[in-house]
Point group: C2
Chain length 350, copies 2
């Protein structure tokens, strides 16, 4: 299945997202596959076989979010300069979101921009990170604070890559899929309840639906001033959960799952979601091995953590919530503190 | 005078170039003026007076091309994070091309892109660097090898800034002006021959014409795959001159002046320019205190230096030449080596 993406807003690039077992990809000029040792062990051979090019370098960077920084990016650029890459060269990001974000950023920087291709190997990267053109690295002040908006030349999503993905990481990807469904598409949500995630055809359908939904959002709002913020459903609360647990206890998708349950408590209080639907979403998350509980030690402290986030401009927190039912969304600012605290108390009590 | 710029090709941003003594500029959100001690001494006060904002930081970076590197960029970004700049903040580049290139690059990187304003203080930056959206830094492999295409929100060219510019730097800017005229506009070339550069009105006209010509080119070809290459007239030879003299002997514009004289020798041999016109251009350069001679020690060595340049893809050198007369241009590839050597011998003999 090939989904054409046309980012129309700010950058007229268009490209295709291929969702199918990898086929031959012909690339002119030099190619560097950027990956890490973990991914390389499972998938490098297949990637090398699929790429037809005269000159292919493999650049391995250390595995882990803690290496998603400028030092790693500069070391990759240095390898490219040493190997005399030019403006017609291409980078291939083979790995999860960290590899994709850093490789895209390297491509954007090298001689002011060369082509890059996404070859995402985790479900999370396949449904989320590979669409939208956000690239970048973390620094001591926070996540993704240095980067660029830069679109790939193409995205190749091979569902067979997922066969070696640990179950926990797969589930973390499902959390983002559920997020898309709750925000944008009730039919898709209902399909998710019936789908069999051990069946490749169902997985391909799920990836395709998520990618299409995300592409629509990105087309409307490439640079995240408006509707793109809706993709942060579950993230406002989830970031606090990640922060309070020092990014160690939960995978990002797991924290988002908890965050969605919290957001739904708030939505129920505000009459934006029925209790039945909130319970239904919680059940779907749990069925997919995602956490739906979190021990809030101090509710006031939890609340204060909202204001550490870079997205909280001018001390108003944007809460992304369903807007009456599953498949709809609204961005609520200026919800009174006591209402948010009430939702947190209710979450804690459950 | 206000010249509206609409970069239509790859990035739909449009902005205005103001060519007039600085007026009030109102900016919402935090502002950082990035400058260096040399420029700051002469112009910071005026810049601060013109900018209306609630919160203005001044960030000074060391003066000189040798500090145009990632270390300086990262130190500026660090200052911005410390001062809690957010996505609604604005950078102001107050200085020459180095400051403009680095500040624009910082703006492109900070939280994936914030606004920036160009306030160029040298003639070269006013006519050349402030239009086109090229930002970036040098590294050990060469100049401008890491960067981004990123457009400013506005450009404020105050011709009074030039009053403190050393004569030699002013002339270096004139070289790029003459380049634009020879490539694109015979009438403008003739005006340059008559103009009085001690007269502010003539200077404003010259800046405006150069900016308009460059904007036209950039609109046609933002990312330098086609016609934008024509802006490199004089640069193919000039870069070798800079390289052979370790970037110490000549200002960039001076090397470009020598490079244009060399290119014109080649154009005369290829019947693309009359000897009279070549002599006329040389005379105009000399009249503006620009060098038109260079002692080539080893012609073969000079020729080999073409192939060190990042723009020499696949070992074919692109020579940018007049195309029959002043005001026209052509990109010639595959000129036989012996013809280029002949031009260099002819240049050496003069």
């Amino acid at each position: 299945m090939i989904i054409p993406i046309n980012i129309e807003s700010k950058d007229s690039k268009s490209y295709n997202i291929h969702i199918e077992p990898l086929k031959k990809i012909k690339i002119d000029g030099k190619v560097a596959i950027v990956t890490n040792p973990t991914v390389s062990k499972f998938h490098l051979k297949k990637a090398l076989e699929s790429i037809e090019a005269n000159d292919i370098e493999v650049i391995e960077v250390p595995d882990g979010e803690e290496y998603k920084n400028m030092d790693t990016v500069l070391s990759v650029l240095d390898r490219l300069f040493k190997a005399k890459f030019d403006r017609k060269s291409t980078l291939v990001a083979l790995g999860g979101g960290v590899i994709g974000d850093m490789t895209g950023f390297c491509a954007s920087l090298y001689q002011r921009g060369i082509d890059f291709i996404q070859m995402p190997t985790t479900l999370l990267a396949q449904v989320d990170a590979s669409v939208g053109g956000k690239t970048g690295v973390n620094n001591s002040y926070g996540k993704n604070l240095i980067g660029a908006f830069y679109q790939p030349k193409g995205v190749y999503i091979d569902p067979l890559f997922l066969d070696t993905l640990p179950q926990r990481e797969f589930s973390a990807g499902v959390a983002e899929v559920i997020k898309m469904a709750v925000m944008f598409d009730e039919n898709f949500y209902n399909f998710l309840k019936e789908a069999n995630l051990n069946n490749k055809e169902d997985v391909i359908k799920i990836i395709a639906s998520s990618v299409k939904l995300k592409a629509d959002v990105v087309n409307l709002d490439e640079k995240e001033s408006g509707v793109r913020a809706v993709l942060n459903y579950g993230h406002t609360f989830g970031h606090v959960v990640e922060n309070l647990t020092n990014y160690r206890e939960y995978l990002h998708g797991e924290a988002v799952a908890i965050g969605m349950v919290m957001a739904n408590e708030l939505a129920v209080i505000l009459n934006l979601l029925s209790q039945d639907e909130a319970d239904d979403i919680r059940e779907l998350l749990a069925k997919n091995s995602l956490p739906t509980n979190f021990e809030i030690e101090d509710i006031e402290e939890f609340y204060q953590h909202f204001f550490l986030d870079k997205k909280s401009q001018n001390n108003s927190i944007a809460f992304i919530l369903p807007n009456g039912k599953i498949g709809t969304n609204i961005i609520k600012r200026d919800i009174p503190k006591e209402v948010v605290l009430e939702a947190l108390y209710k979450f804690k009590a459950n």
